[in-house]
Symmetry: C2
Subunit: 398 residues, 2 copies
């Protein structure tokens, strides 16, 4: 069994004691082949994406998926992760050219060769991407790479309410302006940055308001043009539009956005657990569900510390909450609340997991989301590929 | 059985007499639900993409996949098609949010709901996309839409040789400039445009040289910036760089590029068949295989009329050849030549089908491409979903 868990409990991905065998991919962290002229790279699953990008930086290429700083390519493949850049670059499935996978019966398959485009046979690559290790062990990954943009910038835009911020995000998505990344954080999260951000981030006093972080990437001239278009779209919201005055400040702006979830992890009080929800909805419903979540979280007197954050470009956001797992009443209240949020997301045509996966904690909700027929087909596929159900048993479904 | 074939014989997709039942999707051509605020649309499989785009045009949104003008969304899904815009927008799999599929045993499944991003369960959508109807009948498709860019332009760049044109294409891909589409056509194809292009296209005399057609899309200012960057990249090739002087001329430039394969279809002499190859290779090998193909086609004295064309942005190109199917020697020579081209593409790490699919004609090559283990797994999946093998029997594999 392969519970190579993150060591960090995201909703649905709680680690769990397993019997059987665990595989530690830490040492499988090598670049096996780098083809800069083809703009791809073959890596082992244990490599951390940030290390990969550092190692290939001088080529002018990069792997654009950027989830948590500690994420490995194998984990990223297996959760179909995304990150701030998903708005421009899509999700992990769009960057995997092929996988080498060890199946339950010991067969080793390579899903395909290295062309950037193919219509040859079933898309096995996408079947293993996001399968959370339940269909086989990924031992090699060929990643498509993108050219590092010539220039970048970041705008910070504070709003009077989270609904306004979310509405502006929706307007920006609809505008078609090629923004590279779009993050939302609420006023609580901004306060945390003021108090607990890294040194560079704390140099500045952030307005403690719901904020959009917009990242631009492209040519210097193109970015200027994108920024002026964005200003037009947000003008009706009558908000400040803060641009960095230097490259150092730009870096700090972006770090602030990237640190959001991580700073929550950092300040988690002894004995408390963090629960990060992960729903995604069709974009026209985003403001509504974010506002509802924040309001409910307050109204219920859950008495829990919670912040909203996430990459809203695709209708996905997180509500990160601290709760005491030994306070049964609080735990149940949080569970009930999260269940309602997922029901609402589903009712809106959304999903219970935009990026973290189903893991162990969300199996029931996956059933609600997809219905018995679709889950039935997934189970049949699982049974075909792993008849003895030995690969990450207990994850995704039973 | 469901041989709802294209009526047009692309390599690998030859239609074939079937017993059993045929489904004609012509009347299933409706838009079922349009959600402009979510930027998606639910359609029946028989709708032609160009009709769909006309119907929703006033919303400022469009479906970016643009293969042949007669292609239906169901066919596009089932071949994981692409088109000129693939360079910017990816392939069909990137634009399908969910599918409703009737399985062989009559079960109807919906692969997922409508969020733009999800990590919930196996990616069934991508399993059916590109399955060429062998896993089930697609009866409804939810497509993600993109905002219609504010402005566009087209540059026409003639080169002294096809190798130079392909090398320039590779340099442009590597540059990261957000070109929207990139087509290559050889001197033969340009001659055909001069002789047989549509009225608008024939207004201009095209240089009969290997040519790159570059399409730009974005903001007016952004496009100017992209064009000047592109000029820098192609400067070392010392070539003219022709830009349209009016919107009408821009339209004619683009029509010329889009008409390429179609004009071959139009001029096909009575009794001759057209064979269009479809390999894709890692981009650094593109110039080599295109040049080899053209040279071999001449050297062998195949005595066939052939042109090179295609959307090279992802390393994919077509050699379109006329041959006489009743001339056994010619037919065999063409078959042998195509086999060698596919072997070369595979040896380069490429694929035998970049966009048209495997169909009936390329089953053997798919085996060569993927090897027995991988094909074995595909067959097991097929057997799980369609145990009686009644869905498009004889396609993809036996
Ligand atoms: C601060 C923070 C920020 C984050 N931000 C984001 C974000 O922006 N976007 C996002 O998508 N996620 C984010 N995450 C979640 C997490 O980073 C991603 O889901 C990531 O993709 C998981 O990688 P990992 O190496 O931690 O995988 P793990 O948690 O170790 O594994 C994930 C799953 O994949 C399986 N697995 C791992 N390796 C293999 C393999 N080689 N073969 C088969 N199965 C395998 C595991 O068994 C497990 O089921 C964040 C997490 C944190 C803590
Ligand atoms: C002039 C010309 C230019 C072209 N340019 C391109 C191009 O740029 N890019 C590109 O990718 N292709 C191109 N093609 C090929 C073709 O347009 C595409 O492959 C297209 O996606 C096929 O659509 P269709 O409606 O013709 O499908 P069909 O040929 O009718 O069907 C294709 C396959 O899908 C199956 N199928 C169809 N409908 C369903 C359904 N509802 N459920 C299940 N299975 C189904 C069929 O059985 C068949 O196996 C071109 C063709 C021509 C003639």
């Amino acid at each position: 069994m392969i519970p190579f868990g993150a060591g960090f409990s995201l909703e649905g991905n709680f680690s769990q004691p397993y019997s059987g065998i665990c595989i530690d991919f830490t040492l499988m962290d090598k670049i096996l082949a780098f083809h800069p002229d083809d703009m791809d790279v073959v890596v082992q699953p244990g490599i951390i994406w940030a290390d990969l990008n550092t190692q290939i930086e001088s080529s002018g290429l990069f792997a654009p998926m950027d989830p948590s700083v500690a994420a490995t390519v194998g984990g990223m493949v297996s959760t179909n992760c995304s990150g701030p850049y998903a708005f421009r670059y899509g999700t992990m499935k769009d960057w995997v050219l092929n996988l080498t996978v060890v199946l339950a019966d010991g067969r080793v398959i390579k899903t395909r060769r290295r062309p950037r485009k193919t219509s040859a046979g079933y898309n096995l690559t996408s079947l293993f991407v996001g399968a959370e290790g339940t269909l086989g062990i990924v031992t090699e990954v060929t990643l498509k790479l993108a050219p590092i943009p010539e220039d970048s910038s970041v705008a910070v835009v504070p709003f009077v309410s989270i609904a306004e911020a979310a509405n502006a995000a929706t307007a920006l998505i609809r505008s078609g302006i090629p923004i590279a990344a779009m993050g939302i954080t609420d006023e609580v999260q901004m306060k945390i940055l003021n108090l607990y951000g890294s040194a560079g981030v704390r140099k500045r006093r952030w307005e403690e308001k719901p904020t959009l972080f917009l990242r631009f990437a492209g040519t210097t001239q193109g970015i200027q043009s994108d920024i002026s278009k964005v200003k037009e779209v947000v003008r009706p919201f009558n908000v400040p539009f803060v641009l960095p005055k230097s490259k150092a400040e730009e870096k700090a702006f972006w770090a602030a956005s990237k640190e959001a979830l991580f700073s929550m992890v950092k300040i988690r009080p002894e004995g408390m657990e963090m629960w990060s929800t992960d729903v995604a909805v069709p974009i026209s419903r985003l403001a509504e569900i974010i506002e509802w979540s924040k309001r409910e979280c307050g109204n219920r007197k859950l008495k829990i510390f919670a912040t909203v954050l996430g990459q809203v470009g695709d209708g996905n956001f997180h509500l990160a909450m601290f709760y005491n797992p030994r306070n049964q009443k609080q735990k149940e209240a949080v569970e009930k609340f999260v269940k309602e949020m997922m029901d609402m997301a589903l009712e809106m045509g959304g999903t219970v997991s935009g990026q973290h996966g189903i893991g162990i904690g969300k199996k029931d909700y996956l059933r609600d989301e997809l219905g018995p027929e679709t889950i039935g087909l997934m189970r049949e596929l699982k049974r075909t590929v792993d008849p003895k159900w030995i690969m990450n048993p207990g994850k995704v479904f039973d």
